[in-house]
Amino acid sequence: MKITPNFCPVCGYDKLAEPPRNRTGGASMEICACCGFQFGVTDDDNGVSIDDYRQRWITDGMPWTSAGKKAPKGWNPQTQLGSLALRATLSRVKGRPPRMAVSMV
């Protein structure tokens, strides 16, 4: 799995033009073409949390929101959300995961 910092923490879209926040927390002001969350505006101005927005986006049927950018070929929001969950899990793992014991029968 290719890890890129330019992914949306709401929907998992990984083709943002820049990371949603820089290393000191400054927002990119970018509107996610997939879910429509605007970093630094939807959260900092409108007060909507990432989790709440994601829940609303899922309830709405996970639509592609951008009017100026087309969805990638074969785009699948469920797969994208799965990648986001995997990414979140990986980020929680500290160090190298334990190796699985393999028994020869």
Binding site: A17, G26, M29, E30, I31, D45, S66, A67, G68
Partner: protein, 248 residues
Amino acid sequence: MRAFVHALVGVIACLSGTLLHAVELIGEPQTRTTAYTATIQWRTDVECGTRLQFGLNPAALDRKAEGAVARDHTLQLDALTPATTYYFSVGSARAKLATGTFTTAGGTPAAAPQPSLIRRVLNVITPDKKEAPAVVPAQAPPTRQTWGHLDSLQDHFNRHGRDFSSKTPDDYAAKAWLFLQRARTESLPMKLDDTDGTLRVFDPSTRAFAAYNGAGMTKTFFKPGNPTYWQRQPGRVVKPADLRFSSR
């Protein structure tokens, strides 16, 4: 047989005359202008595309406008400079049909007020300290030179364009660029985020906010509703003289 050949030739000639008919202009293009806009109208004998090129130099019409396929063609040009003569050509996708000029309203720029006697004496004593007045340009460069990620412009316009009564994405982008120019001349509050070079600008009187990348190109432009939004923005306070990029 001969009669059949003649009839066939006649049909082919008739068809080719219809299909290859060149688009013709009916009358001259009509122009209506205000200080900042111009409306150009023209009519063609058949339906065709609506194309217009215009600019300040007749040899280099560097701006374009397009419309739908029609017989009656109307295009409105925005963000023009007052009291300026523009050259234009109209046509279809395949042919240039006519050229012309129009001049925006606004008259000549107001004459500078006469300086006071003391000012004139000081100018004589210290003539080398005379500075050019800071002027905000009335017209923005093409959008591709002012907006950071062009493919995001439509979404920003759809979301925030109404904050500034913008009619088109280009109009919205032009206003964002002009806001930066005004911020520099009027020393509006600015914060520079050294981490990625983002410049954030805020006008407390209109509550307009904009963010620009390290090259001075717009990232977003809107009016935040939260009263503490500007106070919570990251970055160090800077003055126009501290900015490294030149966006003019």
